[in-house]
Amino acid sequence: MESLRDKIAIVGIGETEYSRQASERGVKALMIEAVQKALDDANISPQEVNGIISQGISLNLLSASELAYNLGIPHRYSANVSGSGAGSMGTPLAAAMAISTGQADVVVAHFGLDFATQRRKSFTYREHGSNIKLSFEMPYGLYGPSCQYPAKAQRYMYEYGLTRDQMARALGTIAVNQRRNAILNGHAVMKKPLTLEDYLNSPIVADPMRLPDYCLMNDGACAFVMTSAERAKKCPHVPVYVMGVGFGGFQMTNADSETQLGDNFLKQPAERQALDKALQMAGISREDLDFAEIYDSFTIMLLLFIEALGFCKQGEGGKFVESGAISLEGSLPVNTHGGHLSHAMITGATHVVEAVKQLRGEAGACQIKNAKIGLVAGGSGAIDGASTILRRG
């Protein structure tokens, strides 16, 4: 099959405000606003859009048909890529397939989250639709990833022989680095500086994880627009080409997720496969990446992803991040906007938006000099993962 490398480009991005206050307008209105902004950014009208792609959580909040109805999009192609963050990170593959086969000319990917609204109501959204989780984990107070990831951090210390202090410094370095980036970007939810000392003095939520180890629970929306490489040249911004996309998977069920991983408990197995496939399609190696935007619902999740993606050996993520490698000045700047931890949580989609800004040279105070190729990677970690490699045109 002919490669889909560089066949499409991201030509428009749009974001709403992100807030930890429940949105008065409701998340649907935010998602529609993000799409309008992305289309304006691309100088494309809603009538020219004929494909809509998203991931499961976002589509539950605003379906493709409802988006189309509101904006007058005559869509004929729609797809749900995955229920997890892999669906945000990997949407460009579904768009590339649709555009290359003539199913669509312009594809919009829309994302939103209403965690600020939800947290007022119930906790059951954390069950991930699994009756097993509801029966076997939640009665015992294991409320989804918020408790599963501390349990991973505990096991991480054990398997790799870290003291509590070493674990805290590794995770704290990630939290501090991303807070710094968030404050620099100017649009982040978190605006208060965080030092390592602040981190070490912050309260334990679930041992050994502290408050700054957790992602934001915000409302907000973002979107991006994709079209053929040919048409992209006529759009106002420098095209950001989709060089490579890869997906990875691991044989387990939603019920098993994060508690029944056996020997893969700390290995995020889906993610490695995804990056290898994306690199292969792009025809580049890890060393060619100028930066990486990596799914980070928790500091320990980011640490595990950095290891799984092969940027350092397993168990050495702490040393890697403490060396300064992931800072804006480092060898592989990571989550240049502050990520889910300090910028905003929209299931990985803001990571794509930030990568586009970096490659256009529009990342302001967070700009990586001469950024030409960037990686966006992540997903559920256990069940599925996706990697997308983007390049400046």
Binding site: F123, A151, A206
Partner: protein, 147 residues
């Protein structure tokens, strides 16, 4: 019977779920049961229609002895949901039974201070009866024989 954990704010297990009814039937009788594949002799958890390792349908629930080791754990000190509302901080542990390797039961580690918890800690099952229908398995440390 001693009350270790305050489950009053729920949720409680869904006993109607036919896939796992056998498990809760077991706990009512003071037993821990896991599905085991009779073809490859491996336990798996959670339940699966076919064995996730060899894909055989020849699966049987087997009773395991009550001794296990802590695979990992966390001490929840923050208001993350109803169990905290009911009783404040608690330890949640994943435990692996000595005679059912690979199957991790999520439960609460009770009768143990958080500073004493560790991975590899030997534990034994205790049952807390909620009502006629539900008995929740918990684990507590195996100390010396006299305790």
């Amino acid at each position: 019977m001693e009350k270790y954990i305050d489950f009053s704010k729920g949720p409680l297990p869904d006993l109607e779920d036919s896939e796992v009814a056998t498990f809760w039937e077991g706990t009512r009788q003071g037993e821990i049961r896991f599905p085991k594949c009779l073809k490859c002799n491996r336990f798996h958890w959670y339940p699966c229609v076919l064995c996730p390792f060899c894909h055989s349908a020849d699966i049987e629930w087997q009773v395991v002895k009550g001794q296990a080791k802590v695979y990992t754990w966390t001490y929840v000190k923050w208001d993350l949901g109803p169990l905290y509302h009911a009783q404040g901080p608690y330890i949640v542990a994943y435990v692996e039974f000595d005679d059912a390797p690979g199957a991790h039961l999520v439960t609460n580690l009770v009768d143990c201070k958080p500073e004493d918890a560790y991975i590899g800690m030997p534990v034994e099952v205790v049952f807390q009866r909620i009502n006629d229908e539900v008995a929740m398995p918990l684990v507590k440390p195996i100390r010396d024989k006299s305790s």
